[in-house]
Amino acid sequence: MSSTSETSSQPRFQAFETMAGPITREQTVEERYGIPENFLEIEVKNPQTHGFGRKMYTDYEIVCKTNIPAFKLKQSSVRRRYSDFEWFRDVLEHESTRVNIPPLPGKVFTNRFADEVIEQRREGLERFLQIVAGHPLLQTGSKVLAAFIQDPNFSRDTYNY
């Protein structure tokens, strides 16, 4: 389908193969049909309320499945509570000046242990983690991101600023 026209202004058809030589990196079958390198699933689930009286609190399970090397474990499950998330968000904001950290679901003062409230909070925390965990600059730049999401022996003291 090459053009036979003489005028130089007619764009001459160029097949992609003619550009800059043969393709030296062919896509392998594994690359084409295997699990992609960006596999990352974050879930916040199983809210459980512990303690009684003034010491009652709810925590949530963070389940992470991934093949991104920034996360040391391919699968993990840890439990965190809302105040842990607040601390975590604070640290993220201090760590990076360039990245916009999304907001957490709001603080709740009444009805903290009602089902609908907990469910709304669970959804908000999940959304927050999905945005933050998938952020390329945080994955590679944050010292606290992977540990907060995956480390069952996580301790705030290690990361105090």
Binding site: P11, F16, M19, Q27, P36, N38, H135, P136
Partner: protein, 318 residues
Amino acid sequence: MSVASLFGFSAPVDIKIQLTDTEQVQRKTFNLIVDKSQPVQKLPLYFDREPVRGKVSIKASQGKRLEHNGIRVECVGSIVIFNDSSQSKEFLCLSQELASPGEVLKPNMEFEFRNVEKQYECYYGINVQLRYFVRVIVARRMGNLVKESDILVRSYDPPKEVIPHSIKMEVGIEDCLHIEFEYNKSTYHLKDVIVGKIFFLLVRIKIKYMELCIVRRETTGFAPNTYNESETVSKFEIMDGAPVRGEIIPIRLFLGGYDLTPTFRDVNKRFSVRYYLNLVLYDEENRRYYKQQEIFLYRLPEDDGLPKEIQERERDAD
């Protein structure tokens, strides 16, 4: 309705400028928007050193007498910088007296400007305008009457680069996204095609789609006080969906469909207009990853439907 007549000073005056064709060539015209507040104008194309000739007719309404302090006609080339008028300049101003002070007696007055230098291309941009026009000024005690008629000048200079080369680069974010992009040329004419491809070397983010944009950037002023205006001339989606390692996405973008001008570098040392290809990827959280690359545009005579020999003709006209 002129301001003068609002105050009841004088009846409206109708000034018309009519440009005449040269004998040898059928003059080409182009429909362009010169002033956004006005409809599209049909502008005649003039070449460097060509004469600009025409007739001026001035009519006062209802056959009233029109007294004036002199009528002159000018052939003007002007650069207007909107954000800083001190940078504006009339770099060309040829003047001819049409009538000395008195009364308008003749209905038509002819003018001729010989060997008019037209070295720049007209440009109607966001913060900059370069225009060539014929201006008639009727001087009067209570305020001059001015009428302008634009002409079009275009440059068909070949690009400065002698050896054409492709643009090929590997870019990315360490450990997250590596791509190699390639465009077949760095210099394109206005009806050319951009042929290229994007090769994905590493994809650890979840990409939603990818587009290729043409961006125009106007620069005025001098460092460190340069002022830029950028405009996305077009957006062209080249990929929808998530690629993986080893995937190749082709690019074939026809420039003729967009409102483009040649690359202008330091026109009259007052402004530049440069073009960039902006490759933009969006991930699932709408985060943008982009790489801008300058391309150089030039105008071929064939792009405007003119014969290739236009360069020789301009030289012969001297």
